[in-house]
Amino acid sequence: MFHLFLPIAGIVIALALFFVYVQPTFQEVKLIEAETAQYREAVGHAAELERRINELKSRQSSIALSDLERLEAFLPDRVDDVALLMDLSALASEHGLTFGNLNEAQDGADLPAEDPEEFGAFDDEASAAKPYTPHDVTFAVSGSYAGFRSFLADLERSLMLAEVMSITFTESEGDALSFNMRVRFYSLKQPGT
């Protein structure tokens, strides 16, 4: 009877080891391997990302700084209202025009729009989807037609993009005309906004 005990005990111990240690540990190892594979993939992506970033950075550094500065001026991070006012006023006076009646509105709500739905207030949903924020400025410039034409031409070519949204003027006695304008400037939206 005793000679049966050893082989049976061996089998029992082997089975116990298998079910108590080997199988659960093997499952655990499989999970570790899956996690390792994910990390390996992430390392691959990160290495590729690093390579691409370095490549792009070297390309970026090959672009003239002045061009990048101009691009930033074209679409700035924020619109400086005071500087804008001064620039517009200076530009108007450069062309012999009198600058006045300034009115700023970021949401277009308080603009004297002729038809708010079509020409005035921004469409919030459409605006939210865009990567830039519009800043509308209404003002009037008074002076000669020729002065206004050259003022308008310079405004269209402005380093900071100025989109003329409306121009209204009527005939008047004498040479001086009063031109009411609404001009839209843009700033690049900040990340996360």
Partner: protein
Amino acid sequence: MADTPKTSFIPKQSMGAAPGGAPRKRHFNILNFAGMVVFLCGMILTVGVFFYKDLSEKDLASEKQALASVKGSFSTGDIESLRRLDGRLAASQTLLDGHLSPSAVFDLLEERTQGDVRFTQFVYRRRESGSAEVALNGTTFRFNTVALQSRQFADAPAFATTVFTDVSIGEDGLVNFTVTSEANTGALRYVAPASAQPLEAETATSTATTTTETLDETLSDLDDLDALLSDTEDLNEGL
């Protein structure tokens, strides 16, 4: 038999020979064998799995370290900076594509207005959709002039459709009329002046155009980069 040791008082029998003269029969026990095999297999599996787990854990630790090392080699600031530039380029391009020059409307009016027509009011309005309209109030001496003016505007490239309305004779005997025209945004699109060494103020937009084109081409890979970054971030978050 010369090698067989001699004994003195123990029964005379050779030590090399089996008692009884015949060799004992060895039994092959299948149960013993199976038990031993199963036990050994169990032990080998146990030891193997132990070391395998250890190896896997070391492998995982090594990959984690590699990821941390690669991640540490670039800053998120670099990525943000590139993303920002890419966003600025794309937005600038969109804005430039929609940039209109209302000066073209005045050029057209100067070219095509009849000599005896006088405009008393001018309205240019840009819609949120990007289109634009021009409305004018005018006066002249004769109805014929209104008809001629209508023909002049009909084939004007800057005007897509032109409608003359409210044609009437005023108290002063002049013919009053209203012109409403849908601007042809294609014809009003801003065109940067071509010049070799332009002044900054005059060529800002053209420079921006050139810059965006150059940078856009240069950084065209950023879309792929974003996808790659997104994948990596997803993985990092998932882990």
